[in-house]
């Protein structure tokens, strides 16, 4: 369970998150929506360990505020980035195998290289990723959509307990969005994975069906509600 209390983050002297509170239980899907500049991506990065913070980030009752990014990953926290960077020359195949070896899960299946390859092939098909992409450098020359699918593929390898989807829908067409969200929904159902969806638009939420929707404004959660909140935003925008 994730419990964020009075979270504050300053970037270059400017307070971007200003006393944010949020709770996500295992198997829950929570959406955070907000206008540009409200601090959405900062929230995502802070949870993954990029920026120092004050306040509390409790993950299964332990404050992880001082943990390094890799330590958070080992605790099962995964960030699907809005714009993942490229690592030229690092082949996706090799990278995924490295990921598989570095991950820390409770009951690891220990596949050999060949079994792992086969397992990946299935997932790749589900996500609609072209097989030749696996031979290329990670995200190197990938389209926006390909990068997003690659994030989700990594999520499947790591089997995190909490996934943060930062604007995962941008760059994905409707069919791709359906595939990607279905994969996420399955993980929630099968493994009680918790999901924090960070998004500007409500489009993705039709597929992910969040348990709660929170509106982020000026670094704080302004309102929390159910599905009806997204319809209101759709109709009136954030400015109301």
């Amino acid at each position: 369970m994730l419990k964020i209390g009075n979270l504050e983050v300053k970037i270059e002297g400017k307070k971007v998150l200003a006393g944010l509170n949020l709770e996500i239980k295992d198997g829950e899907v929570v959406a955070v929506m907000g206008p540009n500049g409200s601090g959405k991506s900062t929230l995502a990065y802070t949870l993954a360990g990029k920026y120092p913070n004050t306040g509390k980030i409790l993950w299964n009752k332990n404050d992880i505020s001082d943990l390094k990014p890799e330590e958070r990953a080992h605790l099962g926290i995964f960030l699907a980035n809005q714009s993942p960077v490229a690592i030229p020359g690092l082949s996706v195949n090799r990278f995924l195998w490295n990921l598989y070896k570095v991950r820390k899960v409770e009951s690891p299946k220990s596949l050999g290289v060949m079994e792992f390859r086969k397992w990946i092939e299935k997932k790749v098909e589900n996500l609609g990723i072209g097989g030749e992409l696996l031979k290329r450098g990670l995200n190197d020359g990938f389209s926006g959509g390909e990068r997003k699918k690659m994030e989700i593929l990594q999520m499947l390898v790591l089997e995190p307990k909490l996934v943060i989807l930062d604007e995962i829908d941008s760059g994905l067409d409707v069919d791709a969005l359906k595939r990607v969200t279905q994969v996420v929904v399955d993980e929630v159902k099968n493994r009680k994975m918790a999901v924090l969806v960070i998004t500007h638009y409500s489009r993705i939420l039709k597929y992910l069906k969040p348990d709660r929707v929170a509106i982020l404004k000026a670094g704080k959660i302004e309102r929390t509600g159910g599905w009806e909140l997204t319809e209101e935003i759709e109709r009136d925008g954030y400015e109301k």
């Binding site: 360990g49 990014p69 890799e70 990953a73 690592i87 030229p88 690092l90 490295n98 570095v102």
Partner: protein, 452 residues
């Protein structure tokens, strides 16, 4: 320390004079023309000033060097016949093991002389010659005389002159017409004594439509005194022939590595230099291709990993003499822990070399604020119907890349290694698998503790 090295049967006195040059020639019982060649070269060496346009060479003390050290009486055909100390050295490096698995032939040079030589029977039967340069001079004098010093004349530069005066060892390869050598031929050069100069001389002749892949490795233990390695490598690729020359240079960081390498490529021939530089205190090496026949091609892959106290000045030269010739230089360097790497290159398109095309790509990766990378490209385009392209990038390992990999659970060091290996991948993938694995391991070793 010096007395520890008893593994020699003859050693010339320290320092260089005409007497030493004559002594080397006499010891080798060379024909007179070679003795004269050496003496002329020695004069040129004395006349030429030290080059000052590149790395700092002021630390070389020519008086403190042993120019000739003969470790064994003859070239052995079996590893078991070598003195134990020498055999153990190669065992540690893994050469006999590699020979069994995937090599067509091996030459092992220890100090000044080739001490071990082999060539698969099947290759020998096809008329392929692979022997030490000294042996070639005695056995194939006409062929040697015809090519020796013609691609790189003694006057080319001070260190080519020095090599020409005191050369010893190196490989001689001849591949007859239409013969393709499937397995790589390998030479391994080892300097094992302090204050040693190694001056091997290699000549490769690839006849029409023939193919060969030659691989050389180099290493030395570390001593407090510097050693000098000044080799000359001449390659002739005849019409439609193909030669790939791969070097993995891992000298200890007290070796000055000043090497001249040049290939003469005739009509539709192809020369490929794959040049990996990890070791040495100073390296100055710019493998060259002279595209002397229509449609000839040259490819240079240059790689440098410069760590603490190292200055690696690498690159390549492509001289286009004829129409429709193409060349490409891909240079990748990594600088870390205060190391310095430079790309230095020359593209020359001579008048009349119509439709010549050349492309140079240099990428440098700098791992910390103490390290340095420079690019010194020179283009001389004297033909209007030619295309010369140059791309250069310098990058640091991005915070974004590091964070991305760390957020997946990798330590900073693991993340950095993955980024560096990825950067080198375009070159590493050109190496035979065994060397690629070794190279990644060596880069990993160099990077130990590079991240705070």
């Amino acid at each position: 320390m010096a007395m520890k090295n008893k593994a020699y049967v003859f050693r010339a006195k320290k320092g260089l004079d005409q007497g030493v040059v004559e002594q080397i020639s006499a010891k080798k019982q060379e024909p007179e023309w070679m003795r004269d060649f050496r003496l002329r070269a020695y004069k040129i060496f004395l006349e030429k000033p030290m080059p000052t346009w590149g790395a700092d060479l002021s630390g070389i003390n020519f008086e403190e060097i042993y120019y000739y050290l003969k470790p064994n009486e003859k070239v052995e055909r079996s590893w078991d016949d070598l003195p134990k100390e020498i055999r153990d050295t190669y065992d540690k490096i893994g050469i006999p093991e590699a020979e069994k698995k995937y090599l067509g032939g091996v030459k092992a040079q220890y100090e000044s002389e080739v001490v071990y030589g082999s060539l698969k029977k099947s290759l020998e039967k096809k008329g392929i010659i692979f022997c030490g340069m000294d042996e070639a001079l005695l056995k194939y004098p006409e062929m040697v005389k015809r090519y020796f010093g013609t691609i790189i004349p003694s006057g080319d530069n001070k260190f080519a002159a020095l090599n020409s005066a005191v050369w010893s060892g190196g490989s001689f390869i001849y591949v007859p017409k239409n013969i393709k050598v499937g397995l790589p031929l390998q030479a391994y050069f080892r300097i094992n004594s302090a204050n040693m100069g190694q001056f091997e001389r290699t000549l490769i002749i690839v006849d029409e439509r023939a193919e060969v892949h030659y691989v050389e490795g180099c290493s030395a233990p570390i001593y407090s005194d510097d050693s000098l390695h000044a080799a000359v490598v001449e390659v002739v690729v005849k019409k439609g022939g193909k030669c790939r020359y791969t070097t993995i240079q891992n000298w200890s960081t007290n070796v000055y590595n000043l090497v001249t390498k040049r290939a003469w490529v005739e009509e539709n021939g192809l020369m490929e230099w794959v040049d990996g530089n990890l070791g040495s205190k100073v390296t100055m090496k710019y493998p060259a291709v002279v595209l002397a026949g229509e449609g000839a091609r040259g490819e240079i892959l240059s790689m440098a990993v410069a760590g603490k106290g190292q200055n690696l000045d690498n690159g390549g030269k492509c001289i286009h003499l004829k129409p429709n010739t193409t060349s490409r230089i891909t240079a990748k360097s990594i600088s870390m822990k205060g190391g310095r790497s430079s790309y230095r290159g020359l593209i020359q398109i001579s008048p009349g070399a119509k439709n010549a095309r050349s492309k140079v790509m240099c990428d440098a990766l700098i791992l910390d604020g103490k390290s340095r990378s420079d690019t010194y490209p020179t283009n001389k385009v004297l033909e209007s119907e030619a295309i010369v392209e140059h791309e250069a990038t310098v990058s640091k390992i991005g915070e974004e890349q590091l964070f991305y990999l760390r957020s997946r659970g990798f330590s900073p060091k693991e993340a950095e290694t993955m980024i560096v290996n990825g950067f080198m991948e375009p070159i590493v993938k050109e190496l035979p698998m065994e060397y690629a694995v070794e190279l990644n391991r060596l880069i990993g070793l160099q990077m130990e503790g590079s991240l705070g």
